[in-house]
């Protein structure tokens, strides 16, 4: 399935490269690489052990280690990650801007090394969600065992392998890399860049994860990877092949993670669009950058811990061997020094996503943007100082527990600031409860619970009781699943249209959310109680009194399983055949919404200019960025060819304030030109043409490229023709609200989607709004002032003047009632006047002249003043009944309306036959 419009190979002053090989060619090499690695590993190990006379020529763990490592390296070399660099180091002429591996024209391009950050992002998402399924299966195996007390489905060693595998796969194979994948796709676009700083390194980062995933999966089958994902020594030293594969997989995953993080940091530091100061970056960029810093500086510690464990297990060293002077606790210090920042690596990007989602779906700027940014940094920095709160009962020096507790408690403050800021963003907004917003609000609920239980665990005396129990299991799942995974789903649904060019099914999305939300809370909330009353963690067997609750939990967990299945169905089905997605389905402001869905090969047509913050909802005219900026903003050239066409299908609302504002908004980014298509089904073409001229004049005066036509007959075939002729990128379909719209009654929106095969945005403009004309100097406003003379004659007079150019009309009926008070008489006089005015207004609307008006308590001169001052009238028609000698009225009006010209119209004194 192609995701981009076809592009051809890079031409110009760059090297032209031949057609790229098929994915299968790369995989053939990769398989050769793996086999070579295994064989080479075997030979090297054998020779080394033989020549150096090591004990145990066949020490299996050494062979496994060397062969697995070389197989992994063989894979990434074979698949082609180093091809360009191989040419480089041999001194060949290389093109730094070699894009031969860029972009995806077919599905095969996703299965080979690709330098396009968008392709890499999708590769990550697919791989990590595959790991999610593996981790989920392991979780359900755990719950299956725990459904009943006693050893039910597996022995102790195997069961320990289940939860060890579950956690490891979820942490290293899913949560940490999935944010990398999502950010890989979105972040460069969000900062206005054409790709990441190092696209080839980006590709390598992804492929490094594949051997890691394979090894973790394989580890379940080769035994004894059962010391938990924490792999404490000395227990881990009792592990065998599975443990070895775990240790090596962690190194590959860590290398992948660090390489990606380096890429993000350099990209954000050097490739932001002009005008994007750090205070104009979306919070997702803040969060991802800070996370990248954590990854770069923290991950080496887990690498160190796994190196040392591996050395002890496989080479007989004494890091953790008590008999040899080793320090058992040292493992925990080194391990947790990374693994605590790791939990922030797994959470901070999610915070960034939630900030963006809540702002967009509440239509409000972020509450406390700077506080949110600073708190992100604070959490990351403080996060390096709290590792030993995982070790309160470990036997570490007693004095250390107190500063660790204090620092841990301190972290609750910036975290709380974030939660309150999100609530502040929602408050008073215009909330659209679409699926991304559901996940975001659900996240706030579950994350607060997770954070609060974290305070318990950070409080030393409480932790002593609660650590190593199911209370911790509850806490970690509330922050990992209720936290990280909820934000991952929020981000996925939010950016799904952008990445795939299709809309997901909203109903299925909502079902996914609710099933998961209920299932999740039912599964994990009871675990707080289980831990508090005495169920330890990492056990297959438990007290009889916990049996019912454990069974309930195991059954409740199926809610998440079913929800996930629905998600997969929705994602895949929508990707293949969902309705086309517009550029900006959520009317967001950040840069990714100003490009097509999916974006073109290099994202932008011209360098975007950032002129404001990304969350300026509610401020008319506020802009975050423009893609075609005027010379004064240093804009780049955007040629006629580059502008995209938007087809606007509307009738009554053309020329109205609402539709014109919307067109102005869309035009602000500089990307669009507009073609109006006005399908007329009631034969009133003249009126439609008037409205069109009015609208086009306004737009032309504002420099917006627009044209249009009025078409009779079947709207659907008119649209088909327009699509064929103008090739619009997107269609804006305007209708009345449901119930008042014959189009909606005929399901026009869906029919247009199918007929045009374009992204269709549906905008609803009510009848009243459609009749409110836009204010603009390009349109003449004629005021009609009359009382008894108000009638058809004046309507005709306005129409005659309308033929000389676009006009809108203001109908004013002045009533000078004799005497004060509100008598019944006065009431009926007023009603009659209002009726006359309404009739004239309707008549003008019928003729395609936007009109409005009112009854005024005052004399005609007063009405003239109001027309000039409040309505901006450019001329006044005063009507009197012929033969009534109202010359003084005309004089008064002429004087009052100065300098606006006044014309006098005689009307026949006919009975009001309208």
């Amino acid at each position: 399935m192609a995701t981009y419009q076809p592009t051809h190979a890079h031409t110009g002053h760059h090297h032209v490269h031949g057609p790229t090989r098929s994915a299968w060619d790369y995989w053939k090499r990769a398989i050769v690489g793996v086999i070579t690695g295994v064989v080479l590993g075997f030979i090297i190990t054998f020779l080394a052990r033989w020549l150096f006379g090591f004990d145990g020529l066949w020490a299996s763990q050494v062979y496994w280690s060397v062969c697995a490592t070389l197989a992994g390296l063989g894979f990434i070399i074979g698949i082609g990650c180093f091809d360009w660099w191989w040419d480089y180091l041999r001194g060949r002429k290389v093109d730094y801007e070699d894009h031969s591996l860029h972009g995806a024209r077919s599905i095969g391009d996703y299965f080979r090394p690709n330098t396009d950050h968008k392709v890499i992002g999708i590769q990550y998402l697919v791989l990590t969600f595959g790991m999610f399924i593996v981790g989920g299966i392991l979780a359900e195996l755990v719950r299956l065992e725990l459904a009943f007390p006693g050893q039910t489905i597996a022995d102790g060693e195997t069961y320990n392998g289940f939860f060890s595998g579950h956690a490891t796969v979820m942490i290293f194979g899913f949560v940490i890399p999935v944010f990398g994948g999502l950010a890989n796709y979105i972040l460069p676009i969000m900062i206005g860049a054409k790709d990441m700083a190092f696209p080839r390194l980006n590709a390598l980062s992804f492929w490094l994860l594949v051997p890691a995933g394979v090894m973790l999966g394989l580890a379940q089958f080769v035994g004894a990877f059962s010391a938990g994902w924490t792999a404490y020594t000395p227990l881990a030293l009792q592990g065998t092949t599975g443990q070895t594969l775990f240790e090596i997989a962690v190194q590959f995953a860590g290398a992948s993670s660090i390489a990606t993080a380096l890429n993000f940091l350099v990209t954000v530091m050097t490739m932001r669009a002009p005008g994007m100061t750090v205070w104009r970056m979306p919070l997702f960029v803040w969060a991802q950058s800070v996370t990248a810093g954590l990854v770069v500086f923290g991950t080496p510690f887990i690498a160190g811990s796994q190196f040392m464990t591996w050395f002890d297990r496989v080479m007989g060293t004494n890091f953790f061997n008590v008999g040899g002077g080793g320090d058992v606790l040292m493992y925990q210090h080194v391990f947790w020094f990374y693994s605590h920042p790791a939990v922030y690596i797994m959470m901070l990007p999610g915070f960034g996503i939630i900030s963006d989602v809540i702002s967009t779906f509440a239509r409000k700027p972020l509450f406390g943007y700077r506080a949110l940014a600073f708190s992100t940094v604070a959490i990351a920095v403080l996060g390096f100082g709290v590792w030993a709160h995982h070790m309160f009962v470990s036997g570490m020096p007693g004095w250390l527990r107190f500063p660790m507790m204090i620092m841990t408690i301190v972290i609750a403050v910036p975290t709380g600031v974030k939660v309150f800021s999100w609530l502040g963003t929602m408050w008073g907004g215009k909330i659209h409860l679409k699926t991304p917003m559901l996940w975001a609000m659900g996240f706030v609920f579950t994350f607060v619970i997770g954070g609060l239980s974290g305070v318990f665990l950070g409080t030393l005396p409480a932790d002593i009781q609660l650590t190593d129990t199911y209370y911790v299991v509850a806490h970690i799942h509330y922050v990992f699943f209720g936290g990280s995974v909820f934000t991952i789903f929020a981000g996925l649904y939010y950016w799904f249209p952008k990445m795939t060019g299709r809309m997901y099914n909203e109903r299925l999305g909502q079902i996914h959310f609710w099933l998961t939300f209920v299932g999740f809370n039912a599964t994990f909330f009871p675990m707080h109680w289980l831990g508090a009353v005495g169920m330890p963690r990492r056990v297959a067997d438990y007290d009889e009194r916990f049996a019912d609750l454990n069974l309930f939990i195991s059954i409740a967990s199926l809610g998440m399983v079913i929800g996930t299945a629905i998600f997969f169905y929705n994602a895949i089905n929508s990707w293949i055949r969902g309705p086309k997605a517009p550029w900006n389905p959520w009317r967001g402001r950040s840069l990714e919404w100003l490009v097509s869905s999916p974006p073109s090969l290099f994202n932008f047509d011209a360098v975007p200019q950032v002129v404001g913050g990304p969350y300026q909802y509610g401020l008319p005219g506020a802009r975050h960025a423009v893609i075609f900026a005027g010379e004064d903003l240093g804009g780049g050239e955007l040629t006629e060819v580059d502008r995209r066409t938007m087809l606007v299908v509307a009738n009554e609302s053309v020329g109205s304030q609402a539709l014109t504002d919307r067109v102005r908004q869309l035009a602000a980014s500089g990307v669009w030109r507009f073609t109006f298509l006005m399908p007329v089904e009631d034969g009133n073409n003249r009126a439609a043409e008037r409205r069109l001229q009015s609208a086009l004049s306004v737009l032309a005066a504002e420099g917006i490229d627009a044209n249009g036509s009025v078409v009779s007959g079947d709207p659907l075939s008119a649209i088909r023709t327009a699509v064929a002729d103008d090739d619009p990128q997107q269609i804006l379909l305007v209708t009345q609200p449901r119930g008042a719209s014959p189009w909606l009654d005929r399901d026009m929106v869906d029919r247009v989607r199918k007929a045009s095969n374009r992204a269709v945005t549906h905008m609803v403009i009510s009848g009243d709004d459609a009749r409110t004309p836009t204010r603009s100097s390009a349109v003449q406003t004629i005021a009609v002032v009359a009382n008894d003379a108000m009638g058809e004659g004046l309507a005709t007079a306005v129409q005659e003047r309308a033929d000389g150019g676009p006009v809108s009309a203001v109908v004013l009926c002045p009533l000078s009632l004799d005497g004060p008070g509100w008598t019944d008489d006065a009431e009926s006089v007023r009603d009659a006047a209002a009726e006359r005015a309404r009739a004239v207004i309707a008549s003008l609307q019928e003729a395609g002249i936007p009109a409005r008006g009112e009854v005024i308590d005052g004399d005609p001169a007063e009405a003239a003043r109001i027309a000039r001052d409040s309505y901006g009238a450019t001329s006044v028609l005063v009507g009197t009944i012929a033969g009534r000698g109202d010359a003084d009225i005309v004089e008064a009006v002429t004087a009052a309306a100065q300098p606006v010209p006044v014309e006098h119209v005689f009307v026949e004194a006919a009975p009001p036959a309208l």
């Binding site: 051809h8 001194g91 054409k194 700083a197 380096l262 510690f301 160190g304 811990s305 040899g324 080793g326």
Partner: protein
């Protein structure tokens, strides 16, 4: 789209150097931060084993009842080689700035030779140390720290060799564009600094 190449051009495909911060150098600096943390984790192990477990009875007694011995003098000389090699690589970059390609080549060659000398002497010392990584936590931490350092020296040599090959075969690097060279030399300086720290903290203190 028909004008993709024009777009790409408009977006500025300039090599990284045209930006105020060179992207390649920035990446290397951050990467060195991460490598520093790797060594920090190994040093952590060393200090915990030495002060927590052995209570600073260091070096501990080996199986013959004698304290382990480290060749401070020999390694001191070796350290001097490595430190000097940092100067030679700096000198090579300096010569490039003046357009002296021969100087660049010679500087790189001498640096690599010095680095290779360092490695050979280290390996020779390994053979003659009289203890193995399996000899108590002392042996384990010593060999791991120095071994990881040696691996980094090896990688540094490879980076310098790549630069050398580019200079010779591709006539690469100019006074205005030498990012890979700068990155490689930064890496080399890092390796040097780590060694000095290691020598002081492990051999001398």
């Amino acid at each position: 789209m028909a004008a993709d190449h024009a777009h790409a051009h408009a977006l500025g495909h300039a090599p990284a150097d045209k930006k105020p911060i060179s992207q390649g150098v920035l990446a290397m600096v951050l990467f060195l931060g991460s490598e520093a943390m790797l060594f920090a984790s190994l040093f952590t192990a060393y200090f915990m084993v030495r002060y927590n477990v052995a209570q600073n009875h260091w070096p501990p007694l080996n199986s013959s009842g004698e304290p382990f011995e480290l060749p401070k003098v020999g390694t001191g000389v070796n350290t001097a080689f490595l430190v000097f090699s940092s100067f030679t690589v700096w000198w090579a970059e300096h010569r490039l700035k003046h357009g002296d390609r021969k100087g660049l080549e010679r500087g790189l060659l001498v640096t690599m030779l010095l680095g290779l000398t360092f490695l050979v002497i280290q390996i020779n010392e390994y053979v003659h140390l009289g203890f193995t990584p399996q000899d108590q936590a002392f042996g384990s931490t010593f060999y791991t720290l120095t071994g990881f350092h040696g691996l980094h020296v090896f990688v540094g040599l490879v980076l310098l060799l790549i630069c050398y090959l580019r200079v010779k075969r591709a006539r690469d690097f100019t006074p205005t564009f030498s990012t890979p060279l700068v990155a490689a030399s930064l890496y080399w300086h890092f390796v040097d600094v780590v060694w000095v720290a290691l020598y002081i903290l492990v051999y001398l203190v």
